[in-house]
């Protein structure tokens, strides 16, 4: 199960190298990196995000989503790395890597992983600005994005 939860930043290049090293059966690698913007949803300047999570359930839920993506798109490999704790503006939050024989499967599976992760992995973002802290509200657009993958 290639799912990892960590507080420290990750190295995209090193992760991709690890996934593809010694393999000649793959034709496509797609990566998505989610980065902490310097604007809060209110428009105020954002200092940092703090990500709270449900230990245990996060790993299980990400594992279920990853297993579904592997099976549905016949992936050669997949990786999800998600940070928690305090993340400064400009730092990476989440990494999704999909590896497949062809690009269409790798692109689609990466989108699926992100759409599902946003609506079903138990993480909650709190924004930190000059005026204080506030919890980020969920977005209807994220629910719609996840809906489209329902078979």
């Amino acid at each position: 199960m290639a799912v990892r939860l960590q507080t420290e930043p990750f190295d995209l290049g090193a992760e991709v190298a690890r996934l593809t090293e010694g393999r000649s059966d793959i034709g496509a690698v797609v990566t998505f990196t989610g980065i902490c913007r310097n604007r809060a949803d209110s428009g105020a300047e954002l200092v940092a995000l703090t990500l709270e999570h449900y230990p245990g359930m996060v790993e299980e839920e990400l594992g279920r989503i990853e297993a579904e993506a592997r099976a549905r798109w016949g992936l050669a490999d997949a990786l999800v790395v998600h940070r928690h704790g305090r993340i400064l503006a400009g730092e990476p939050i989440v990494l999704v890597v999909t590896v497949a024989p062809h690009r269409a499967a790798a692109f689609e599976a990466a989108e699926f992983l992100m759409d599902y992760l946003k609506t079903s992995a138990p993480f909650w973002k709190q924004e930190e600005t000059a005026v204080g802290r506030s919890w980020v509200a969920s977005k209807a657009a994220d629910d719609l994005a996840a809906e489209r993958w329902k078979k």
Partner: protein
């Protein structure tokens, strides 16, 4: 059973977890929420959003009509905002 609270549900309830035994007649997630709301103003405040509050039974997402019999751990939290 153990009850867990996360994010602003945790802040409003004022604790991250507690042990609780629901009385007879409380058989589903929705009924458990109704019972919790009667325990005090902090619970009423935490659960006033009603169906917007999500639940998980033993670390799996659970709908309001899910039965809670046999659950070891039930968690309540706002809609998720990771990624």
């Amino acid at each position: 059973m153990k009850l867990l609270y996360f994010a602003w549900v945790r802040e409003r309830v004022g604790r991250a977890e507690e042990e609780a035994e629901a009385p007879a007649g409380v058989g589903t997630v929705a009924e458990l929420i109704d019972w919790l709301r009667g325990r005090g103003p902090e619970y009423e405040h935490a659960f006033e959003a009603g169906p917007a509050i999500r639940a998980a039974i033993d670390k799996r997402h659970a709908r309001p009509d899910a039965p809670i019999a046999g659950a070891r751990e039930i968690a309540f939290f706002p809609p998720m905002t990771g990624g």
